[in-house]
């Protein structure tokens, strides 16, 4: 990867990268890609997030579901670890708590494939500061 030599470079890079990451921010993205984020801070890993992440990757691979499973930091829901966030194309992200392999299967089978919700959704009760304003 080339070096970032100026602020203009960085901005160009950001805009390119944003289209890649925007799947997660814009609900009207046409792509048929399922996004799964697994909360993998120390606390999440200690409660088994790694196994769940591997399980989800294998399981979705086996069922040929077009999905990206990534790790992320602490979502703050320590009382419900491991937590995962699932974004279906065209939908708002949904956070599920207490996800073990069994729960992961249920989420794939019901939510990812059929669009049904599953017990154990965690309502997100915070706002994040909006950036991209000072251009």
């Amino acid at each position: 990867m080339s070096k970032v030599k100026s602020l203009a470079d960085l901005r160009k890079m950001r805009d390119e990268l944003q289209t890649k990451v925007s799947l997660r921010e814009k609900s009207d993205n046409p792509e048929k890609l399922v996004q799964v984020k697994v909360s993998m801070a120390t606390c999440g890993i200690a409660s088994g997030a790694k196994e769940v992440m591997n399980h989800m990757i294998e399981e979705m691979d086996r069922q040929a579901i077009d999905a990206i499973v990534t790790q992320t930091g602490c979502m703050g829901f320590c009382h419900a670890e491991p937590t995962i966030e699932v974004t279906l194309p065209g939908n708002d992200p949904v956070v599920f708590g207490h996800v073990d392999n069994k729960k992961a299967d249920e989420i794939i089978e019901k939510y990812v494939i059929r669009g049904e919700l599953v017990d154990g959704i965690i309502p997100v009760n915070y706002e994040t500061v909006k950036e991209n304003k000072n251009e």
Binding site: A41, G73, G76, H79, L117, N125
Partner: protein
């Protein structure tokens, strides 16, 4: 296959379940079936909405209508009106206390979204091991802006105007610290990140480093540009292996992109960061100790002044800031001082991250604007006390802080209010305690920690805290006297006034604040030989009820010290002299025949 058009989300948080949440789910299911809607509408139980005061809450998806204080009897009306006729059930909507208007969507409820994520903006959102995701979220844009469009003075002015204060606990104005470091003339200056998070129960900094390491690197580079330093050091405890590995990855990626290293953004500013590991000593969170530890010396504090800003690492001007403080910097520079200072209270701006732990339903990492009350944090976001117990106290500021009680619940949390209430902000640990927690034992726990962690350099801290601990131990054993209580208070004040560094100056706080707020509990231990919370083992005994005991002999078999005697099918007896109060018999008894007195 059923394809649901609508979903009804019913809060399954502990609070809402207790108020018939489960019956609501069942009734809704029944009514949906009666209306042949069970294949179109799905009822789902969710985690806590953080709205417990108005629970049980029900949210309709996709139109996001939020119903509060719903009862099982409301189910037919919700189905008939909302789902069949498409009309909102007005009487179940939330009424805004200020405007008296009914609000239907949760996003319009000031009440609902109490948390604003600034420092945690990327935690749980981006992949921390991928610099591209950070850049896509405007990462390093603040550094670029400062380097190419601003002077160091102008950038420092933004930080000063924003009102940001040190998040490590002391609350010193960050911009001012930068300015002081800037003004000192020296050949080499250093920027240090204090990631030596040591309070029991605190994990804010760890979560930020694990979730958004680039934010800290970017802010350190900005700090370097502003203060005139080209070298950054992160002092992190070796017991945070995941944070360390993610920081290493982040540093490598930033170097690869030229965001650390020489001539950043094509300017003549160069900056690099290296990691220094701490062995987990609490005193090394104090900046002079931290610097000595980085120099390879014993982690002991020295008298301030000179402050590290004047003479720090290797005798050079050194700017030390905490992880969370750094995490705020890039956003402030992008969004402006005015925006940041519009959040919070008069003297404490922005937000604070708290690690909410203890006897609270929703244990978690939260970020709230300064000025939020403890009640909002514990009962709304935290979902109230576990198992329906009664709230007793909350400990803030760890071993340096104090406990706050019922009467402090409605005080807006900020640096100055917490100090005035006998506690402190600290780094942000918040441990909630219920009626089963003994306040004397709590103070003893923290003193035990302080005694372990005291570096031993000055006598008040080394010897004084040990004596405090012994007195507290005596009281919890039921051997305390009236004299001890006076001595405890006097010695605490002496330690506070005469210790060398922050550790000793604040270590008696848990004692003083519990003595102030729970004087009756100390007196009960001393005068009546009783522990009102039933936690002090020496002051309680296990007793077998003659009426309830059927003589199954289970208790005598699990007793590790053979303190229980009795024949088969005859009531048993516990010898109080032999009993070590392990509670094994109490847990094993199937007939509830053993009680604590």
């Amino acid at each position: 296959m059923a394809k649901y058009k609508n979903h009804i989300l019913v809060c399954g948080g502990t609070g809402c379940r207790a108020s018939q949440g489960e019956e609501i789910v069942q009734n809704l299911g029944k009514v949906l079936e009666e209306n042949s809607l069970e294949n179109e509408v799905q009822v789902v139980r969710t985690g806590c909405f953080g709205f417990c005061e108005k629970g049980p809450v029900v949210k309709m998806v996709p139109d996001n209508t939020f119903y509060v204080q719903v009862t099982p009897e409301d189910a037919p009306e919700i189905v008939a009106e909302h789902l069949v006729k498409g009309r909102k059930v007005e009487r179940l909507l939330y009424t805004d206390p200020e405007t008296q208007e009914r609000v239907s969507e949760s996003k319009d409820m000031g009440f609902y979204k109490k948390q604003i994520r600034i420092a945690l903006r990327n935690c749980g959102f981006i992949n921390p091991e991928n610099v591209d995701e950070y850049i896509a979220r405007d990462g390093y844009a603040a550094l670029g802006k400062v380097l190419t469009e601003m002077t160091p003075e102008a950038a420092i002015k933004v930080i000063i105007d924003s009102g940001l204060r040190g998040r490590g606990g002391g609350g010193f104005p960050t911009g001012l610290k930068w300015e002081i470091t800037r003004k000192v003339e020296a050949e080499q200056k250093y920027v240090v990140c204090n990631a030596d998070e040591g309070d029991p129960g605190a994990f804010m900094d760890r979560s930020i480093l694990e979730g958004d390491p680039h934010a800290v690197l970017e802010a350190m580079a900005i700090n370097g540009f502003c203060t005139g330093a080209s070298h950054g050091l992160i002092y992190i405890r070796a017991e945070y292996p995941l944070a360390i590995s993610r920081l290493k990855i982040a540093i490598d990626q930033a170097r690869e992109y030229g965001l650390l290293g020489n001539n950043i953004f094509g300017t003549d500013f160069s900056f690099d960061v290296e990691l220094r590991y701490g062995a987990g000593a609490f005193v090394c969170g104090e900046e002079t100790s931290l610097i000595h530890s980085m120099e390879g010396l014993r982690g002991e504090p020295t008298v301030k002044p000179p402050f590290p800003s004047e003479s720090g690492y290797k005798g050079m001007p050194t700017n030390v800031n905490n992880v969370e403080t750094y995490a705020n910097i890039p956003v402030i520079l992008l969004e402006g001082a005015e925006w940041f200072s519009s959040i919070g209270t008069e003297k404490s701006k922005g937000t604070k991250v708290f690690a909410l732990a203890g006897k609270v339903n929703n244990v978690g990492l939260i970020e709230v604007p300064m000025g939020t009350t403890l009640r909002e944090v514990i009962f709304d976001i935290g979902g109230g006390i576990k198992d329906g117990k009664k709230f007793k106290a909350v400990q803030t500021g760890g071993p340096s802080g104090g406990c706050l009680t019922e009467k402090h619940l409605d005080i807006p949390i900020d640096y100055d209010n917490l100090l005035a209430s006998g506690s402190m902000m600290g780094s942000g640990g918040m441990i909630v305690m219920d009626e089963d927690d003994c306040m004397v034992s709590m103070a003893k726990f923290y003193l035990d920690f302080t005694v372990e962690e005291s570096c031993g350099k000055c006598a008040p801290c080394r010897i004084g805290n040990k004596r405090l601990y012994e007195m507290l131990d005596k009281i919890t054993e039921g051997k305390g006297t009236e004299e001890d209580l006076t001595l405890l208070r006097n010695l605490s004040n002496v330690i506070k006034d005469t210790s060398l560094c922050g550790l000793g100056q604040t270590s008696p706080n848990p004692v003083l604040s519990t003595m102030e707020n729970f004087a009756d509990e100390y007196e009960a231990h001393v005068h009546d030989g009783k522990c009102p919370a039933g936690q002090c083992k020496s002051l309680m005994q296990y007793v077998i009820s003659d009426e309830k005991c059927i003589g199954c002999t289970l208790c005598s078999r699990v007793c590790p010290v053979d303190a229980i005697t009795g024949d088969k099918k005859e009531p048993h007896l516990i010898s109080q002299e032999t009993c070590i109060k392990c509670g094994a018999c109490y847990e094993k008894c199937k007939f509830g025949a053993i009680s604590i007195q």
